[in-house]
């Protein structure tokens, strides 16, 4: 029997080691694996590189990892949201490395890693500060920037429904970075709202095929418990 259902958030994130590169799904407040992040915070590995579109707001999500000093480097496209403080604080005190990546380039670098491609030429950021120091090249008279694949040790993602084969669906715009991050990490852990029987998901509507997922963990109310 193939059974990828994990027994707890805590056990699932115990694979994360000091110095790991961790991708975390989500966009704004949507589709974030908040319980896995909380479990990771409690597990408290050091010197993490976090790759995510945003950097959390207030004391929530990635902000709590920044606050607890677990992050050595942060890569994202939009670190500031209303109510976000910790990325700014760590940035200003110079205690973390920060790399800004245009959102589409961030997503495409993640996809490239999952798809076995080494690099690609994108028009995004050509002629801007964010292309400085990068290789550029013209194709058909237009400028492009060379961007390389972005791999992770672990991806923490959030799905809506999952099964024991690791197949996932999402809730509306909660997909965002979750499906591509699932493909780009050595180990992918998915937090889901509901676990269904193998065969219950419509094979035409599976968004993340189970091959990309190592562990599926049902939400266990970790954040309520910590409140």
């Amino acid at each position: 029997m193939i059974n990828k259902i994990g027994s707890s958030m805590a056990e699932a994130v115990s694979v994360v080691k000091d110095g790991d590169v961790v991708m975390i799904g989500g966009f704004g407040s949507s589709g974030i694996p908040l319980e896995l992040i909380e479990a990771l915070r409690r597990h408290a590995p050091k010197d993490l590189t976090i790759i995510s579109n945003n950097a959390g707001v207030a004391e929530e999500g990635i902000a709590s990892l920044l606050r607890d000093g677990l992050v050595r480097k942060m890569m994202c496209s939009f670190p500031r949201s209303k109510g976000s403080v910790w990325l700014q604080k760590r940035y200003k005190e110079g205690s973390i490395e920060f790399e800004l990546v245009p959102q589409g380039t961030l997503g495409e670098r993640i996809r490239a890693a999952g798809a076995g491609l080494a690099a690609f030429y994108t028009p995004t950021a050509y002629g801007t500060l964010l292309a400085e120091g990068k290789e550029t090249r013209e194709f058909n008279g237009r400028g492009y920037v060379l961007e390389t694949a972005l791999h992770a040790d672990v991806a923490l993602i959030r799905g809506e429904k999952g099964d024991a084969w690791g197949n996932l669906t999402y809730n509306t715009a909660g997909r965002n970075f979750n499906p591509s991050m699932a493909t780009a990490a050595r180990t992918t852990i998915a937090e889901v709202k509901q676990i269904v029987e193998v065969g219950d998901l419509d094979p035409e509507a599976v968004v993340t095929p189970g091959i990309f997922v190592d562990t599926v963990v049902l939400q266990e109310g970790l954040l309520d418990a910590s409140a």
Binding site: F27, G28, S29, S30, G31, N53, S77, F78, P79, R80, S81, K82, L87, Q88, Y91, K92, F98, L100, V101, P102, Q103, G104, T105, G107, E108, I110, R111, T122, P123, T124, A125, Y126, G127, T128, L129, L130, G143, Y170, N171, T172, A173, G174, R175, N176, F177, N178, P179, S180, V207
Partner: protein, 214 residues
């Protein structure tokens, strides 16, 4: 000089959105444009986080926490809309599939360079989001902004002083004072608000303006 209100600026952009267009509206003032597109235009709005067919805000109590737009506001989905992931969403943007994008800006240059994501203040961590992808990818890029800064300094300049979002990407600029097109010969006035004269608008514009084509 006469200056449009924010509402009238959004209304003016809305007038130019054609029926059936695929449109991405940037965070802030551009988002308001949708409020003024008349119902007989069947415009399909794209949101970079993975939505086509974005509908109006949900009724209170009916918000879906995952269903937000790029500005992190709760939205709904129109019948015919659908969801997709980041890679597919940015393929749409970068791949030239959106007819129109409307973005805000700090500065625009005479040759259509756009500066919209960072000032020269390096004390805060910079944020760029999807603006650079839209800038290079939308078939038609419109900027919607006040003509001048709060201090009355021109935002339309020979060259941008702030870091660029994209080089030579802007097609049209809508401000509270005028509508301008970026052309090969320079910035051309499309229309002036109210009784504003070319000389008056030129006086608060950093780059030379060409008179409307007759």
């Amino acid at each position: 000089m006469q200056a449009l209100s924010k509402e009238d600026m959004a209304r003016r952009v809305a007038r130019d959105i054609p029926d059936g267009a695929y449109v991405n509206l940037g965070i802030g003032m551009p988002t308001q444009v949708a409020n003024y597109v008349s119902d007989d235009r069947h415009v399909i709005y794209h949101s970079e986080n993975g939505i086509l067919g974005v509908g109006p805000a949900p009724a209170p109590g009916e918000e879906n926490p995952d269903l937000i737009n790029a500005g992190k506001q709760f939205v709904t989905l129109l019948p015919g809309g659908c969801y997709f992931d980041n890679a597919d969403s940015f393929a749409m943007m970068r791949g030239g599939h959106l007819d129109i994008a409307v973005l805000g800006a700090f500065q625009v240059s005479a040759s259509g360079d756009l500066a919209s994501w960072a000032t020269n203040d390096l004390s805060e961590p910079p944020a760029v989001g999807g603006a650079m992808d839209l800038a290079v990818g939308a078939r038609r890029l419109c900027v919607l902004m006040k003509h001048c800064t709060r201090d009355g300094e021109p935002k339309i300049l020979p060259e941008c002083e702030y870091p660029l979002t994209g080089k030579g990407v802007v097609n049209r600029i809508y401000t509270d004072l005028a509508v301008l097109d970026v052309t090969d010969s320079g910035l051309r006035v499309v229309e002036l608000v109210g009784d504003n004269t070319l000389e008056q608008v030129q006086a608060v514009t950093g780059a030379p303006l060409l008179p409307p084509e007759s």
